[in-house]
Each structure stands twice: as structure tokens, then as C-alpha cells.
């Protein structure tokens, strides 16, 4: 009952609900041009934790540099098995869709596929965690998580991973759940959580001053890459997150030294509903 009364994540970015915000002091001086002008995402490694990436799909422009497949294995201590992704395919198209969006924004970013979906539903959250851990430990700079888990028993596990990423200066970009209910890691404060807004311009995003979901990016009726070199038109917060991941890749490409909280500040300053303080 309580959950039904809660506003849905994406409604916070509807034109009527958006709040105009002020960036105070020097934060107001951060511009898009400063943040990512001239950047192509070159030198930035972006992991897409998802259903795989179809690496020869034209939408990813040959930028897939590697990948792994994480499968559930109840016999091992970690409960997962990690193998190189030799198949280079996408079970559904969802990971390719995310990779394609990131590539559009940051054409020279290096893409890595972390395939965490498999037939065994019971191990799904552990596969997801295993994939995230791999990405944290294997030199990625930005991790796109258009997946989440709502299982309370893994709250601690994902929190630990989110903290590990934060302290390694690694940015996690997580899609909010598509239905208004809790999901991890999107609700942790150290990640960038993203919901969909109705806009079409890939570089237009908004900041929400009433978290947990902090940013809104395009994700409604967007045309995305899909399985078998096709495209579809689809809707979901899943497609909003890679827009922000792509922009973060651009920022990291230009300012490699920025930490997650600094990147969040830059994003806040560059949000379409944020304006510099008027000079007195």
C-alpha cells in the first residue's frame, strides 16, 4: 500500500515536476564545455554489466575490447564461474542497446561486456554481484548497471561492492527500477542512479533534488540497438542509465583525476535544470 502511494521514479523528471536549481559559487562556473568539450571518451574503459554485447553490431562501432561471462556455480566458494566471452553475443539485445547508447555519446570509449544473465534464475543476484566485482577489480573506469536486484538479502553484498568501487574512483551508473520499488545498487548514495525522462536529446539530463534517483536522462521511446544487428524502439530506465554512463565516460576522458563525488558535482552543475547563481 505504502509503495503504491510513492511517486514513481521517472515522474520526478516530468516537465511539470522538474525543479529549477541553483549552482552556488564556483560550482556555477562549471560548464559543459569545461566538463567534456572535445572529449571522445578516449582511454576510458566502460563495463556494461548486462546480457552481453553483440560486438559486431554496427551500433558499437567495433569498440568492444573484451568481455566475460559470469555463470552461477553453486560448487565454488564465490558461487560464480568467470570465463572469457568468446561468443561475443547478446542473449537478448539489452546489453547491446546500452553499449550502443554509450558509444554514440563517447565514440572512443573502450567497451567491455560483462554478461551476468544465465538460465539459472536462482543465482542471478550472485552472478550480477560477481560481474560487478570483476569490473571493479579489472581496471574499469565506468560501470553501467542497467540491472538491479530487489532481494534484501543482497543489500549488504552490493553495498560493499558499491563502496569498493567508490574508493577506487570508479563510477557506478545504475538504472532505477522501472517500477517504484527498492532496487540495489541504484539506491545507494555513492552510485549515480538514473531514471528516464521524455526528452530526446542524448546530452540533456536533469538533476533531481529529491533522491534516491538523482538524474533523469532519455529513456522513453528511444531507438536502440538490439539483437541480430537490428534496432527497436523501447522504453525503460535501463536506457537512461547508459546516457549518463556515456557522459561520465566523456568527463573521465577529459578529467581522469575526478573522483565519484566530484563527477556527481560536475553532472549536477551541467544538468539542464541547474543554473548558476545570479551575480550580485
Amino acid at each position: 500500500m505504502e509503495e503504491e502511494a510513492r511517486p514513481a521514479w521517472s515522474s520526478q523528471f516530468a516537465a511539470s515536476a522538474l525543479r529549477e536549481l541553483t549552482a552556488v559559487g564556483p560550482i556555477g562556473g562549471i560548464t559543459r564545455e569545461w566538463a567534456w568539450g572535445g572529449s571522445t571518451g578516449s582511454g576510458v574503459r566502460v563495463a556494461i554489466v548486462d546480457s552481453g554485447i553483440e560486438s559486431d553490431h554496427p551500433a558499437v562501432g567495433g569498440q568492444v575490447r573484451g568481455g566475460i561471462i559470469v555463470s552461477y556455480d553453486g560448487r565454488t566458494k564465490s558461487k560464480v564461474r568467470i570465463e572469457d566471452d568468446l561468443e561475443k553475443r547478446d542473449l537478448f539485445g539489452h546489453g547491446t542497446a546500452c553499449a550502443g547508447i554509450i558509444h554514440t555519446l563517447a565514440p572512443e570509449a573502450e567497451l567491455y561486456s560483462v554478461r551476468v544473465l544465465g538460465r539459472d534464475l536462482t543465482g542471478r543476484a550472485l552472478q550480477f554481484a560477481g560481474g560487478l566485482r570483476w569490473a571493479i577489480e579489472n581496471g574499469m573506469h565506468v560501470i553501467n548497471l542497467s540491472l538491479s536486484t530487489s532481494r534484501e538479502e543482497y543489500y549488504g553484498l552490493f553495498h560493499e561492492l558499491a563502496d569498493a568501487a567508490y574508493f577506487k574512483n570508479l563510477m557506478l551508473v545504475s538504472a532505477a527500477n522501472n517500477v517504484p520499488s527498492p532496487s540495489y545498487p541504484s539506491l545507494y548514495s555513492s552510485v549515480i542512479s538514473v531514471a528516464a525522462h521524455e526528452g530526446r536529446d542524448p546530452l540533456t539530463f536533469y538533476y533531481n533534488p529529491a533522491p534516491p534517483v538523482e538524474f533523469g536522462a532519455p529513456g522513453i521511446d528511444v531507438q536502440v540497438a538490439w539483437q541480430n544487428k537490428t534496432t527497436i524502439v523501447t522504453t525503460g530506465n535501463s536506457f537512461a542509465a547508459p546516457h549518463i554512463a556515456g557522459i561520465v565516460a566523456l568527463i573521465r576522458g577529459k578529467h581522469a583525476e575526478l573522483t565519484p563525488f566530484q563527477i556527481k558535482t560536475v553532472l549536477f552543475a551541467c544538468a539542464a535544470n541547474t543554473h548558476p547563481e545570479t551575480q550580485t
Binding site: 539489452h94 538460465r119 530487489s150 522501472n178 522513453i220
Partner: protein, 262 residues
């Protein structure tokens, strides 16, 4: 071990158990929908109407076989889709079942493979799909799909949110129905086996246990009363169920370990 021989008390026991079976069957009929599919059918019909969709269907997850089986459908192509089984790592419904995330897709026909395969199976290719997981106790138990929004090219974010609320209610109803059915089947199965007048080892054990309590057949009233209490506690919520389970486990441990006097 007591040596068990078919005697008058055993016959009385068998008769008592048969009465219990009849009683459970009778009460089961009162509380269960006559079948799971009937409940599911009402859900898809309501969904199609609520979302202005040309068709709707529900597929349930078969964990053991890692398949999705379409159980009910309404509208275009429904005759063909019911009974269809797809591997859980295929298609839009598979994606939703695996990730627990809903997805809205329009221009489905742009994926030629999807269109061809779906058309081959159902004779119907939707233009737009909204697919939502049916989640219960953090587990995806199935997927509900609404197809082809009438008077609009695609399902929007608002449809997604509404279907999310709808699916939550549907999942709870489906889960409850499945629980009752499984519980009922398990109870009936085991009691029916026992009620048959056999002298198997199982029967001997039961007789031994019952022989230790006075007026064994009359114990059925207590069992029924216990079942009522379980039922009412079960409906209160997870915390109550857990507390009840802990209390019962503690009692069970105690009961099994206490000294018994011949």
C-alpha cells in the same frame, strides 16, 4: 519397535484418516479457485481491458526446466500462444523473467527474427509489447504481457507503472493459489497414502506415534484447528510467519529430545 498387526485400532485409524481426507477436500473446494488457470485468465482479461490492449498473456516460470510456459491468454493469437513453451533465455518475456525488469517495446516488427519466429508460432505479430515480471517474495514467478495498445503506437511509462502495481497484486494472488494448491496436494497425497489399509513401514510408524497418544483418531480435530491457526498466521505477514516458525521449531526440537516413558 512395536510389532504392528492389522487390528481393530488400525481399522479405526484408517477410517479416521479417510474422514480427514474428505474434510480437507471439502474445505479445499471452498477456499481454492477451481483451478489456477481460471484465476490467471481473469487477470489477463482484466489487464487487456485496463490497458486498452489487443491481447494479453501470462507465462509462468518452470524453474526445473528453465522454461517459460504460456498458461493463459486473451485476444489476438490467444488460441495459439497458450501452452507455448520458450527457453528462459529467449525473447522479450525471457529477458523480463531473467532480469526481473519490465520493458516496453514498440516497432517489434523491426526485429525480423523475432517477427518471423513469433508469427510462425502464433500467427500474430504484435507491434508493441509491455512485459512485466510477476514477482513474489523477490522471485520472478512469471511474466505478464500486454500487446498492441489500442489507439496508441506504444505503451508509455505510465502504463509501465500501472502494470507494475497490477502485476504485484496478480503475483500475490497467483502465489497464494499455488501455495494452497501445493499444500493441499501434499497433504492429501500423504494422508491418502496413509489412509489406505496397508501395513507398510510408514504405516507402522504412524500407528506407533498415534498409539502413544490416547484416542488417536480424535486428534484429527486438533490437526484441523492447528491448520486454521497456521492459515491465519500465514496471512498476517512474513514477520509473523517467521516468529511462528521459530516457536514451532523450538517446540519441535524440545518435543523430539524430551525423555519418553514407556
Amino acid at each position: 519397535m512395536n510389532e504392528a498387526t492389522p487390528d481393530a485400532s488400525e481399522c479405526r485409524l484408517a477410517e479416521g484418516l479417510r474422514r480427514l481426507v474428505r474434510a480437507i477436500e471439502a474445505s479445499g473446494r471452498a477456499i481454492l479457485p477451481s483451478s489456477d488457470d481460471e484465476l490467471l485468465q481473469t487477470v489477463v482479461e482484466a489487464a487487456a481491458r485496463l490497458f486498452g490492449a489487443a491481447a494479453s498473456s501470462i507465462a509462468l516460470v518452470d524453474d526445473a526446466e528453465q522454461m517459460l510456459q504460456f498458461r493463459v491468454a486473451t485476444g489476438a493469437g490467444s488460441g495459439e500462444v497458450v501452452g507455448m513453451r520458450i527457453p528462459i533465455d529467449e525473447g522479450i518475456a525471457g529477458y523480463v523473467a531473467m532480469t526481473g525488469q519490465p520493458i516496453a517495446v514498440s516497432s517489434v516488427q523491426e526485429d525480423p527474427r523475432f517477427a518471423r519466429e513469433t508469427a510462425k508460432k502464433t500467427g500474430y505479430v504484435p507491434r508493441s509489447i509491455l512485459a512485466m515480471p510477476l514477482v513474489c517474495d523477490d522471485r520472478v514467478i512469471g511474466v505478464i504481457e500486454v500487446l498492441d495498445k489500442i489507439n496508441a503506437p506504444s505503451f508509455g511509462m505510465q502504463d509501465m507503472e500501472l502494470l507494475g502495481i497490477f502485476a504485484r497484486q496478480a503475483a500475490i494472488a497467483i502465489r497464494a493459489s499455488q501455495h494452497y494448491q501445493h499444500l493441499g496436494e501434499a497433504l492429501l497425497g500423504s494422508i491418502r497414502r496413509l489412509a489406505q489399509e496397508d501395513t507398510s513401514a510408514e504405516m507402522q510408524e504412524v500407528q506407533q506415534v498415534l498409539a502413544e497418544t490416547a484416542e488417536a483418531p480424535e486428534g484429527t480435530d486438533e490437526i484441523m484447528a492447528l491448520a486454521d491457526i497456521f492459515g491465519s498466521i500465514g496471512k498476517l505477514g512474513e514477520a509473523e510467519r517467521k516468529a511462528c516458525l521459530q516457536i514451532l521449531s523450538a517446540f519441535s526440537d524440545y518435543a523430539h529430545s524430551r525423555p519418553r516413558y514407556a
